[in-house]
Amino acid sequence: MSSSENTTQGSGCPAHLEAMALGDMSLTDPVIQAHPQAFYTKLRNEDPVHYDEKLGMWLVSRYDDIVTLLRDPKTFSDKQGYEAQYASGFFEEFKQILIEQGGGFFPDVIKSDPPEHTRIRKLMDGAFSAHRVKTLEPVITRIIADLVDQMADKADHGTVIDGVKDFAIPLTIAVICEQLGINQYDGNKISEWSEAITAQIGRMQNREDMVKNALKVCELQNFIIQQMRDREAEPKEDMISDLVHARTEDGGKLEFGEAVSLVRALIIAGNDTTATAIGNLLFILATQPQVAHQLYDNVEDERFLTRFVEELLRFAPPVRGLAKMATCDTELGSVKLPKGAHMLVLYGSGNDDESHFNCPRTFDVSRGNTGTHVAFGVGIHRCIGASLARMEIKVAARELIKRVSDITLAIPAEDVTYQKTVATHSISSLPITLKKRPAAKGAAGRIDATSAPVVS
C-alpha cells in the first residue's frame, strides 16, 4: 500500500536540498520525508513557523516554539488538528465505510481537548505508570529474549534478516497484546491494521488507498469489538476488561464506542512507534560500531541504559509530526497565525535543534539535557505509553547486545527505505546480518536474575 511504499535517498542529498528555496520544497516530498534533517535545518534557520503550501499546513520546527505550542492546548487544539488531518480529503467516505462494515465510526476520545480529554486521560494514566511498567519487566524480558534468540538462530549462518519485520514489529505486537490480554492473534494482521490507521494521518494516501485502508480498519474494529464482547460476558484480569468495566471519576461508565476507540488507540499508538524506535536502535548499532561497543561495555548499568534509550529517542524520534489547530487568531515565534491554521508539530526537528541540543547529530549518551527531548511530546497529550515504550526499548537493547554482535547492514545505508508519511519517520525494511555471541554475556549472568521469576 502506498503509505509504506518505499523511498530511497535518490537525488535528495543534503547538498542538493540546500540549494533549493524553501518555497519549492514540501514535506509531502518522499525524498525529504526519508532524509529530512537538511530540510528541518533550513526551516529552523529561515522560516521556523513555515507554511507548506502543498501540505496546507504550518510546520513548527524550533524546539522552543514546539514546547510553547504544546503547552497551550487551548489556543492549539489537538482535537481540531487531528480531525482535519484524519483521512484528509476523504473523511465522509471513510466514515461511511466504517459505519457500514466496521461496527460504527468511533472518534478517538483521547484525541480531544479538556475537559473531555482530562476525564479520559485520568482513566488511563494509572495503567501506564512507571511503577506498573516496572512490574512487567520480567514478562517483557522473556518475550524479547526469545525473539532475539530466534532472530540470532535464523541469522547465525550469514542469512540476511529484516530487523524491522523479523524483530521490531513482532516484538512490539507481542508486548502490547500481552498487555491488553489478547492471547491469540495474527501478528501480520495487527501490523497491517496499524499501518492502515497510521495512513489516515500520514497525508499520503489517494482514494484507492483510503478505501483499502478503511476496510482494514473495519477488520480491526470488528476484532476489538469481539474481544470486548467476550469480556463483557466474562471479565478477565487484563486491560481490555479494565476499559470495558472502567468508571470515570464522576462515576460514569465509558461508552462502548469510547472504549473501542481507546483499545484501538492502544493497539495502534504503541506499535509502529515503538517498532520504529527498535528499528532505529538496530540501524544505529549497525552504522555506529562505537555506540554498539559502548552499549556492550555498559550493559549491566541501569543508569547508562536509561540514558541510552533517551538519547536514542532524541537522536531518532519515531514520531515526526502531529497536527494541532489554532482556535483563534494568534502568534507563534512572532509569526501571525489565523484562526483555523492547521499546524504540524515537527518533533523530529525539535530534537535536532542546535540551539537546544549541542551537536545534535552526534549520538551522545552523556549529554546533560537528553531528557528534555520531545519525542513523546510535552503538555497534556504527552505520550501515555512512554514508560512502556522506554522499557521495551531498554530491554531490547540489553538483550540484543548481550546475545549478538557484528550487526551489519546488508545494503548501503543510503538504500534503506522509509515509510511514505508525514506522521512518522519509520524504516520500512532493514536487511541486516549479525553473529551470535559465543557464550552470551547474559546467558549465564544477569539475565537469570531478571527472567527467573517468570515460569512460562
Binding site: 494514566d125 505508570s129 512507571a130 543508569r303 546533560g368
Partner: protein
C-alpha cells in the same frame, strides 16, 4: 481528612503557602490544584515524565525520605537540574508529620 500546611517556593522565588493540603494526597496534586508555577504533572502522577520535580528543604529531607528505584530512574532524565534533595513530588504522599513542609520547585532543564 486532616489538613496540613505546605510551602512551595516557585522558580522566581515567590512563596506559595497552601494551608489546606490533605493528608493522603500527593504533593503534585496539591501543587496543580493550587496552580503552583512550574509543577505540571503531565503524566498524572505516573512517575514517568519528570514535570513535578522539586527540591526538598534540607530540614525536611529526613522526614520525606529519598526516591525509590523507579523514581530514581525517572529523575535521572532531568539530571541537568538534579540535586541530592531532588524528588518527583507526585511520589510523595502527605502525612501528618509533614505539617509545615517546605519545598522548592526545580527549574525545567531547558
Amino acid at each position: 481528612m486532616s489538613e496540613i500546611t505546605i510551602t512551595f517556593v516557585e522558580i522566581g522565588g515567590t512563596e506559595k503557602v497552601i494551608t489546606d493540603a490533605g493528608v493522603g494526597e500527593n504533593i503534585m496534586q496539591v501543587a496543580t490544584a493550587n496552580e503552583v508555577a512550574g509543577i505540571l504533572g503531565e503524566c498524572g502522577g505516573g512517575c514517568a515524565c519528570g514535570t513535578c520535580h522539586i527540591y526538598v528543604d534540607p530540614d525536611w529531607e529526613s522526614v520525606v525520605g529519598g526516591p525509590n528505584d523507579v523514581e530514581d530512574m525517572t529523575l535521572d532524565m532531568v539530571f541537568e537540574t538534579r540535586k541530592p534533595n531532588s524528588r518527583l513530588c507526585c511520589q510523595i504522599e502527605l502525612a501528618e508529620n509533614m505539617d509545615g513542609l517546605r519545598v522548592t520547585v526545580a527549574p525545567e532543564s531547558l
